[in-house]
């Protein structure tokens, strides 16, 4: 049975696992943005926060993903459902590119523009919302793009703790020494990563300040 035959025969399952995969990546990226962008802003505005915030996000990256899933398993409430663990782990991994790019984007706004804004009487909030964030948006999006692409790959490992996603095919294939099964998980995951990279890349380009 070749790969295409397998995919067409298991079409419903492929779609279901792909949707699960997208859901894991989507929710975790959303959470990473909701947490990471404010932390990036905080680091950019208050240099004292820069080291602890970026340092912690860096530290998380050093923990192997399988080990992190394992560490989170015994945590109350979280450990009750595998998808909760997967979402938390993926969120933690996605934080670094989001925080770092938000920080870099805001710090990279032309100081003359910021000074002109202050000089004209913009409040800190107005300066952030009307000047700094719009001008940093493409850099922030570049971080989100990296986070999504990394998460699509990492989410395949979530299947090891039963969180679902395209990793299920891969782990099943590994157990059965079946390359077609492995490819049935790996190819859609790679296509998802490429699609996200292309789509978000296009969005990032369109947001680039002139």
């Amino acid at each position: 049975m070749n790969l295409f035959h397998f995919l067409s025969q298991n079409y419903d399952q492929v779609v279901e696992l792909t949707l699960e995969h997208l859901w894991l990546v989507g929710i975790s990226t959303l959470l990473a943005v909701l947490i990471g962008v404010p932390l990036g802003i905080l680091s950019a505005r208050h240099p004292l926060w820069n080291r602890p915030v970026l340092g912690s996000a860096n530290l998380i990256q050093t923990v192997p993903s399988l080990a992190l899933f394992g560490f989170l398993l015994p945590v109350p409430w979280l450990g009750e459902r595998a998808d909760r663990i997967a979402i938390l782990a993926l969120t933690l991994y996605a934080l670094l590119p989001v925080i770092r790019n938000t920080y870099t984007g805001i710090r990279g706004v032309d100081p003359a523009v910021v000074e002109a804004g202050r000089g004209m009487g913009l409040t800190d909030r107005q300066l952030l919302m009307q000047v700094e964030l719009p001008l940093a948006l493409n850099v922030i999006f570049s971080g989100i793009r990296v986070a999504v692409v990394v998460s699509v790959g990492l989410a395949t490992i979530a299947a090891a703790i039963g969180a679902g996603g395209l990793g299920e095919f891969i782990f099943r294939g590994l157990a059965m020494v079946n390359n077609q099964l492995i490819l049935a998980g790996a190819i859609p995951a790679a296509l998802l990563a490429l699609g996200a990279d292309f789509g978000l890349g296009w969005l990032e380009k369109s947001l680039r300040p002139r």
Partner: protein
Amino acid sequence: MHGQRLQIGYAGRTFENVENTSSNTPVIEFRDVAYVLPNGRELLGGLNLRVRRGETVVLLGRSGSGKTTSLKLINRLLSPSAGQVFVNSVDNGATDVIQLRRGIGYVIQEAGLFPHYSIEKNIGLVPKLKGWREDRIKQRVQEMLQLVGLESDIASRFPHQLSGGQRQRVGVARALAADPEILLMDEPFGALDALTRDQLQREFRALQQRLNKTVVFVTHDLREALRLGSRIALMEAGKLRLVVTPEEFMKSSDPLASAYVQAFVGDESISVGSIKDASIKDRGVQ
């Protein structure tokens, strides 16, 4: 305030000008102002200066002389380490900083236009912050474009679509949009080519004669100072050395002022007198 004497002192030197009233009220006043960096380095010390209504005071000096620091103390982009800065007789440290800044036009080198805003949005920003109605803002933008000699169709463009000179004109228009009484200009024409700079200086002088704003203008270029200033405040190493009219500056015995004049004259074959006459004639000063 009748017959009040203006005293500006530096290092035991005192310059006195007898002034009369209405134009005499200082719109901006520095009283014993110092600005010291957190590392203890003094950028500005013992600054006493009064800027009268409708005059253009040019802060002239080399890099690091304290010109820009002085300017930023007026709109509180910096706060003095010692002394006080008064704007319309009110200590600017005791006023709401946002309202203070919205009442002062601010133009910097390269204009500092918001690249993601159209020209219309850039010019209309302060009026919008002040809560003007949309139709009034639109009308004001057109008036400002006309005032600085730009076509009205430029309003829909973005800063990157304009030349350096046009951007600087927009910067001036933006600073004037909410009709501030005070205009602060930090080397606004410094990044332009010589011809455009010359043209903008002439236009700005004509504009200032019409609008009669109180202007503090920072430059390191004596030609610009002579052209635009009602008075020139010469600064060096964070101290104010002298405050004189352009005519007095050209005759000043102060060594630094003389050095500026010498450098300005450049070619020794050209007499100081002819240059001075040319500059003063150029300014339209009798």
